[in-house]
């Protein structure tokens, strides 16, 4: 007996066959002429500067943490929503208390400014080696002859 998820598996396998067919046809037909310049990371034609696997803004991490808390909340809400009509007022009060606790946490995060995706203040890069002294052209404020 084929279960319902078995049907999803068949659906998935047939889709994979279509996709693999496309990829294999392309693999047979396409040209393959790589050379170092072609395989360089694209940076608008410039020489790539450094590696792309660098540290990124910590806000992405904070957002992921907040998401985790609220996603668990959504998961808790699903079974509650299904039996809500049978339980009535009791369920409503229970969930209102639960949501209230989460709303307090949400308000805390909001007030702390963790949800603000503000533009970072520009930091002038500091260079360790001494800057070359450049002779600045002296501007003379000579009175303009009228």
């Amino acid at each position: 007996m084929l279960t319902e998820f078995g049907k999803i598996l068949i659906f998935f396998i047939l889709g994979a066959v279509f996709v693999a067919g496309g990829l294999i046809t392309s693999w047979i037909l396409r040209p393959n002429r790589p050379y170092p310049e072609k395989n360089r990371p694209y940076e608008c034609g410039e020489e790539p500067v450094g590696n792309a696997w660098v540290r990124f803004n910590v806000r992405f991490y904070v957002i992921a943490l907040i998401f985790l808390i609220f996603d668990v909340e959504v998961v808790v809400l699903f079974p509650w929503a299904l039996v809500y009509r049978q339980l009535g007022l009791f369920a409503f009060v229970e969930m209102a208390v639960f949501l209230l606790i989460l709303i307090v946490g949400f308000a805390y995060v909001w007030v702390k400014g963790d949800l603000d995706w503000d533009k970072p203040k520009p930091v002038v890069p500091q260079v360790n080696r001494p800057m070359q002294t450049i002779q600045e052209p002296v501007v003379k404020n000579e009175p303009v002859a009228t």
Binding site: E4, F5, K7, I8, I10, F11, F12, L14, G15, A16, F18, V19, G22, L23, T25, S26, R30, P31, N32, P34, P36, N39, R40, P41, Y42, E43, C44, N51, A52, W53, V54, F56, N57, R59, F60, I63, A64, I66, F67, F70, D71, L77, F78, A81, L82, Y84, R85, G88, L89, A91, F92, M95, A96, L99, I103, F106, W110, L115, D116, W117
Partner: protein
């Protein structure tokens, strides 16, 4: 007991229609954008340029597959396959019609009638993050990495609002099965208004709709691939058929989202007042499938219209909308729905 070949026939037909529709929508998007921008658009290949789809496919297949030397090749290959398989799989639980009598069998017009349909769809859309973020990371390109990061943050932010807006629908329908949710919408509210969730849950509909735009990376939320700042975003380093798979996944996702919006909020395959028409059951079933397709097409058309009408958000605006507007609104929607159900039932 339905024989295996009918199940297989159903799967092949749905898969074929879904893939054809995704290819057709790429073409329609170009024609509609041309219409909106007062251009002509592709109209040379075949009638009204319809064979442009085939020409594009041949072009994508014939293109060289360029993988940067510094990239992680395995992950670079796997990422588009994750995207496409998830885009296709989600459609398996969406009911596209009621039952139909086929070769003497009562066939339900849904591929997999699982009892946790909504949870399956939410799990699948969560998996969608992996395709994009892995593609962005593995390319070893700064634009790709930024696109992938933005996309992960955006998808998880809007997923919350999406999940919470579905809660309201579940409280009304009291089932996770998508066919039950559609059945629940075939009643009437006050005699002339069908009990579609669009009218029962208007706020939830708006939140879900906005979140669906963000989940499919469509404008005005297409920050992951914002052309003027990120070149191509996460698929900057993709070419040939692998790029084609990403494009295909985007359009398949769009169709699946439209089908989901139709199922959850627009009454699915239900045609209002069709109960008194007195047509034969077979014709009725076919009409319902047609109605489903028409509703999905209208939502897809709306997706395309919005893309060519509204400018792109800035990233902080996107995050503000997701966290400070949609999330509180969706929590309020859950509480409001609960209160309304209490008041009505007492």
């Amino acid at each position: 007991m339905i024989p295996f070949w009918i199940i297989l026939l159903k799967i092949v037909v749905v898969l074929g229609v879904l893939m054809t529709a995704a290819a057709l929508v790429t073409f329609l998007e170009r024609r509609i954008s041309a219409f909106i921008q007062n251009r002509i658009g592709p109209n040379r290949v075949g009638p009204q340029g319809l064979f442009q789809i085939m020409a594009d496919l041949v072009k994508l297949v014939m293109k060289e597959d360029i993988v940067p030397t510094a990239a992680n090749k395995t992950v670079h290959d796997i990422a588009p396959m994750i995207s496409i398989s998830i885009a296709l799989c989600t459609f398996a639980v969406i009911p596209f019609g009621n039952t139909i009598e086929l070769f003497g069998y009562q066939v339900k017009l849904i591929i997999a009638d699982v009892n946790i349909g909504i949870l399956f769809i939410l799990a699948m859309t969560s998996m969608g993050v992996y395709g994009v973020s892995l593609a962005g990371w593995s390319s070893n390109n700064k634009y790709s990495l930024l696109g992938g990061l933005r996309s992960s943050a955006q998808l998880i932010s809007y997923e919350l609002a999406m999940g919470l807006s579905i809660i309201g629908v579940l409280m009304v329908a009291e089932s996770l099965r998508l066919d039950q949710i559609v059945m629940h919408q075939t009643r009437y509210l006050v005699g002339w208004l069908p009990a579609w969730n669009l009218f029962v849950q208007p706020l939830g509909f708006v939140i879900f709709f906005v979140a669906a735009f963000a989940e499919t990376n469509r404008l005005p939320f297409d920050l992951p691939e914002a052309e003027p700042e990120l070149v191509g975003g996460y698929h900057t380093e993709y070419s040939g058929m692998k790029f084609g798979l990403f494009m295909f996944a985007e359009y398949a996702n769009m169709i699946t989202s439209s089908a989901l919006i139709t199922t959850l909020f627009l009454g699915g395959w239900h045609i209002p007042f069709s109960e008194n028409w007195g047509v034969s059951p077979l014709v009725m079933s076919l009409l319902q499938v047609l109605a489903f397709c028409v509703k999905v097409s209208i939502v897809v058309f709306f997706f395309i219209m919005v893309r060519w009408t509204i400018p792109r958000f800035r990233y902080d605006q996107l995050m503000n909308l997701g966290w400070k507007v949609l999330l509180p609104l969706s929590i309020a929607n859950v509480l409001g729905t609960g209160l309304a159900i209490l008041l009505i039932s007492s």
